[in-house]
């Protein structure tokens, strides 16, 4: 698949859970996550986000996050990554689900983004 999905959350369980939810409807979409801190604590970590970018099988990534400070780390990671990363200020669970379902059926990015626009909450 051309596009992959990266989930960034302050909490490891949320990131892992969203991956589980969306993989059900998007078996062929690569989904990687950066959840919480290295020590298991609540927070986000730029290095873990970089790893999620790198481990994703796709070279173009749609990235979703929960709270604003995750966005700052995401933006730093994007500046440092070679991949093409699209960042959305949308409802985390709902938009990751929507994007994954649409990517699975080979929807064009433009059309995926049209749907995501309606989920903007940040």
């Amino acid at each position: 698949m051309e596009y992959g999905v990266v989930i960034v959350s302050h909490v490891a369980e949320i990131a892992a859970g969203v991956k589980r939810l969306i993989e059900q409807v998007a078996k062929d979409v690569s989904v990687t996550t950066a959840g919480g801190l290295e020590d298991g604590g609540v927070g986000t970590d730029m290095a873990r986000i970089m790893t999620a970018f790198e481990e994703n099988k796709a070279d173009k990534i749609l990235a979703f996050y929960d709270l604003g400070s995750a966005k700052m780390n995401l933006e730093m990671a994007i500046e440092m990554s070679d991949k093409e990363v699209h960042l959305y200020d949308t409802a985390l669970v709902e938009s990751a689900y929507t994007a994954a379902a649409l990517l699975q059926v080979n929807t064009k990015l433009e059309d995926v983004e049209k749907q995501l626009k309606e989920l903007k909450v940040k």
């Binding site: 059900q24 409807v25 379902a101 059926v105 929807t107």
Partner: protein, 190 residues
């Protein structure tokens, strides 16, 4: 007029098809959903059969309530509350007259899921079925046609709505299982 034995036969017939078509129903749910409809229904119907087989029921509403509770608690997907509410509403009719039961089931599904005809859901089977049963005209062909009609629809309710236009060309899995349920009823009647 269904009695308790007829309802048991109905459920047996339905359970047989569900277990047989389990993989097919999940396959239908794969391109436009999460691929679990067959497993959901199979798990639900196992619970139903365990709850009614060799059990005595005072009347038709009692067995309907038991079926409803099993489906609500065991299906796990959208179809659980939908079929569960359908059987709950049928229980409220107080008798076994299919001319009242099917419209009541439809009303329950509509209340729970808020879908209207044309949204590519089980409502697209229950709506024509409800109309036909009142004219004593519910047939296997009529049911199959209603199920088939969902194929060309664009989903706007349920998980299939996420893929929008891409849902066209696929039969709705809940419509298919609803078709099985209604055909299992025809077989039990006779």
């Amino acid at each position: 007029m269904l009695n308790v034995e007829d309802v048991k036969k109905w459920m047996e017939n339905f359970d047989n098809v569900i277990q047989e078509q389990r993989a097919y129903l999940s396959d239908l749910d794969t391109p436009i959903g999460d691929g679990d409809h067959g497993n959901n229904m199979a798990r639900g119907m196992e619970a139903v059969m365990a709850a009614i087989t060799d059990k005595d029921f005072a009347d038709v509403p009692s067995i309907f309530k038991t079926i409803a509770m099993s489906l609500i608690s065991k299906v796990g997907g959208a179809s659980g509350p939908l079929y569960g509410t359908a059987f709950m509403e049928m229980a409220k009719i107080g008798n076994g007259d299919v001319k009242e039961l099917i419209p009541a089931a439809l009303a329950g599904i509509e209340k729970r899921g808020k879908a209207v005809p044309g949204e590519k859901t089980m409502v697209d089977v229950w709506t024509p079925a409800s109309a036909l049963v009142q004219k004593d005209a519910l047939t296997v062909e009529g049911i199959d046609q209603a199920v088939e009609s969902t194929k060309e629809m664009v989903a706007t309710k349920g998980r299939a709505s996420y893929v929008g236009d891409r849902s066209v060309g696929h039969i709705d899995p809940g419509a298919m299982s609803s078709g099985y349920l209604l055909k299992a009823l025809l077989k039990a009647e006779g």
